[in-house]
Amino acid sequence: MIHDQAKYTRDGEDVHEPLLAEKGETTVDVTESSPLPDDLTRDELTLPEPSEPEIARHYTRLSQMNWAIDSGPYPLGSCTMKYNPKFTEDVAADPNAAVHPDRSERSVQGTLELQYRLQEFLASIGGMDAVTLQPPAGAAGEFTGILVAKAYHEHHGNDRSEVVIPASAHGTNFATAATAGYDVVELPSGEDGRVDVEALEAAVGDDTAALMLTNPNTVGLFERDIAEIADIVHDAGGLLYYDGANLNALLGRGRPGDMGFDVMHYNVHKTFATPHGGGGPGAGPVGVVDELAEFLPSPQVREGSGGSGYERFEPDHTIGKVHGFTGNWLVLIKTYAYIARLGDEGLADAAAKAVLNANYLAERIDLDVPHGPFHHEFAATAGDRDAADVAKRMLDFGVHPPTTKWPEMVPEAMLTEPTEIENKSSLDDLAAAFNLAYADTDEALDTAPNRTAAGRIDQVGAARNPRLSWQALDEE
């Protein structure tokens, strides 16, 4: 398959779509119009003032220069790009859901009820006892979970300074631990790509606050020794943190709570198909076992006694807030709708088809996959080809390429996660794109992509000479 992306040219020159500012700007004299004294206002404001038809055309053209899951396969490993069911948008747009967060409890019983129901869904799916919906993204969920762990240790008089993280983990894990004030102890991967239990035993001790673990890990392998890993961490007095990035592989077949994890986050744009919106918003609810529930952010929602409806409450030793209000609520409504649509069988089937798709695709590509048995994603190696170049060439073939050059344990990695939404023929197309690009000439790889709105972009130049606004372009 070949894909030519939309682009707009004039007289043979690529012009793309001009910036709004290039279409014209208007300057408004603020001091003249403002009821405020001049010394409290700015002098003027200069911004584009396009008409509505111009705005519609501008953003429609921009959208045509943007790949999306509704355009075609988007198998970014560890990103779980699923189809986003349309009806969830309509559920979230309910005008009765548009309420202010400072409303009284009694006047927002509906919203509190849906929060409560979603907490219950997520607790059941994760095998956890209590859930907060407040963290606004996965990394914010990690931060919340680690703060909860820290509060737990401090409450019990334990001064622990380290968080242990496998080398193959997402970068957010390391950054989160550092943001929470912990030293990071990086755990090298075992030869089979999993946690090396002996290395773990050597790494944990009195200073260990937590082990952060992704399971299946970032090359799709299930940590078979998880029960032993949990014992090692717990025996040292540490907590076990579950990074929910790969939960899609486990739905209905394994729950972090049953594996000994004490605290976890859910990535709702991954596992529960809320749209990623070109970078966000996500939501990163956090689940914990009973012993940690008293440290969760405030407020939590529970059923009142005696049928009095739902109420907010502050956990006894709360860490306080991690978002100014209640997080990305509109995203969480979509999460509820997705989970309710699938139910038990649908959730388990999503995992089953996701794992089948990854295995089928791996079977169809000519690249080696060093580690297995993998689940929902696999890390192929481009061998002596440059994985980033192979990916650029794939852009010409009507697919989005996988995540490249990560995790580092696989040389020239192409981390691939097709998710459950692709059927056999689209996986065959995806495999063809892999194989064509992988076998292509050096020249073809060096000069790709050719059919996208922009050709290969100079990344080094972008960083060396940062131009981050249309004002910066004007200065040239």
């Binding site: 793309h16 500012a21 208007t26 403002s34 009821p35 405020l36 409290l40 700015r42 404001l45 705005i55 953003y59 921009l62 045509q64 970014l76 990103c79 189809y83 559920v91 009765n96 400072d102 009284s104 009694r106 509906g110 914010a140 970068g171 390391f174 950054a175 989160t176 550092a178 943001t179 998880i226 209905g252 970078g279 966000g280 306080g320 978002h323 100014g324 209000f325 997080g327 990305n328 995203v331 309710a340 649509r341 699938l342 038990d344 069988e345 999503a350 089948l356 798709n357 295995n359 989005h400 459950e420 059927n423 709105a453 922009a454 972009i457 100079d458 940062p466 131009r467 981050l468 606004s469």
Partner: protein, 443 residues
């Protein structure tokens, strides 16, 4: 469309395709592909009944119908303004809504350009040359400003100074970011609703890494001595962080003109409906902090054809490259909300933005005057200029008055035993007659 009880409706496999794929992989069923030891396996019984699409829409509509239909005169950091229909229609285009972070810029030019334009709008509004393409919300952006201050300031101390009038929740978020960096938060007092500049002057010293002020304050007061606050901060080499929102910034003093080093706050006042507190965090700063900025930045570059093209840039600041030495742990941000805010801002244009902000000043003043005429109420409590909101002192207990107002169909804030706060924007301006009448009844 039912799909009920037959697995996920969003996996397209026919039984024949599934069989062919299992055959190609060399297993009898999907279960054989799972490498989960039996002692930690789960039987799949969550107890969640699948529903049809229609059933879920009816269920959620019924649940949300239990929210009372109140006219909200609520603000204190989360504000509703009318969002034009075009914002929904354009941002809901699947090419935007269902895309991922722009890790392959060549095929993602559209979203990158939209975010570049969003950054540019914030550069104009703040006067600062660098704006990232979003944080979660105002509170988390403030937390990130404090950790940036910790990194860039060489002062020996660890104090972050914040105003006495600050949302408690925002302070808690800030505290969670400060704790990891070893920073402590201290409060400086207010003088009739705005920063007490003398008290602040007495407090600042070498141990201060950041001074934070808001304009307008959480009580809706417009700060009158921002440049003096900026001078106090720069005298001790502390970072001056200013909190605001994109509507207020359209008319209030330009942060760059009062010495702000960092601007944080809310851009979700555009593009988002009242959304139970969901936001869009602003982060803008001076050029010298470019390599310490948290979050994603979109830059202009050139492609192989020599044409201008956009890309995420300076990613060596970020967690996926720099790990524990990253400037922040943020990954997923609020990009789609930024797109919506940019479309909303373009729809208003500078004239519409200035008109909207000016109306927020006039309507607050008018409503305060009307409430002040009622016996048993004084408004505004602070003798300052206001934007959107103001505080009311009532002779009767404030909680009881708020409860009575709610019974009459109006929601307002209770600050303490005798203080209420009222917020008016274009959304509820048409209902002020009703609010004033209800106030007259209940006080």
């Amino acid at each position: 469309m039912s799909g009920r009880g037959r697995g996920t409706p969003y996996a397209p496999h026919t039984d024949a395709e599934t069989a062919a794929m299992l055959d190609a992989v060399g297993v009898d069923d999907e279960a054989a592909l799972f490498d989960i030891p039996s002692d930690v396996a789960f039987d799949g019984a969550f107890g969640i009944e699948p529903r049809t699409e229609r059933e879920i829409r009816e269920e959620c509509s019924r649940i949300f119908g239990r929210n009372r239909d109140l006219v909200e005169f609520l603000g204190r950091g989360h504000y509703g303004h009318y969002v034009p229909s075009i914002v929904d229609h354009l941002s809901d285009r699947a090419e935007f809504l269902t895309s991922y972070t722009q890790y392959q810029p060549e095929i993602s030019q559209g979203f990158l350009q939209a975010l570049f334009e969003y950054q540019s709008m914030l550069v104009e509004l703040t006067g600062l040359p660098i704006a990232n393409c979003s944080m979660y919300d105002a509170a988390t952006a403030l937390g990130e400003a404090a950790t940036l201050a910790d990194r860039v300031r060489s002062t020996s101390g660890d104090a972050v100074l914040v105003p006495e009038h600050l949302r408690e929740g925002k302070r808690e978020v800030l505290a969670n970011y400060c704790a990891g960096a070893g920073l402590t938060i201290e409060t400086y007092p207010m003088d009739d609703g705005i920063a007490d500049i003398d008290a602040l002057g007495d407090r600042v010293g070498d141990d201060v890494v950041m001074v934070y002020a808001e304009n307008p304050t959480v009580r809706g007061c417009i700060e009158e001595r921002l440049a003096a606050i900026g001078d106090l901060a720069s005298d001790v080499d502390a970072l001056f962080a200013l909190g605001s929102d994109v509507v207020s910034l359209s008319v209030l003093e330009r942060p760059a003109d009062v010495g702000a080093d960092v601007v944080v706050g809310e851009a979700g006042v555009l593009g988002l409906p009242t959304a139970y507190g969901m936001g869009l965090g602003i982060f803008a700063c001076r050029e010298e902090y470019l390599r310490q900025v948290p979050g994603r930045l979109v830059g202009a570059s050139e492609d192989a054809r020599g044409d201008r093209a956009y890309t995420l840039t300076l990613q060596t600041r970020e967690q996926h490259i720099r790990k524990e030495r990253a400037t922040s742990n943020i990954c997923t941000n609020q990009a789609w909300v930024a797109l919506r805010a940019a479309i909303h801002a373009a729809t208003l244009g500078p004239s519409g933005l200035v008109d909207l902000a000016n109306d927020c000043v006039r309507e607050a003043a008018d409503l305060a005057d009307r409430i002040d005429e009622l016996s048993g109420a004084v408004a505004p409590v602070h003798d300052r200029h206001h934007l959107r909101e103001f505080v009311v002192r009532v002779d009767q207990p404030a909680p009881a008055i708020a409860t009575d107002l709610e019974a009459a169909g109006f929601a307002v804030h209770v600050l303490d035993d005798h203080l209420l706060q009222v917020c008016v924007t274009d959304l509820n301006a048409g209902q002020v007659d009703g609010l004033v009448a209800a106030f007259g009844e209940v006080i």
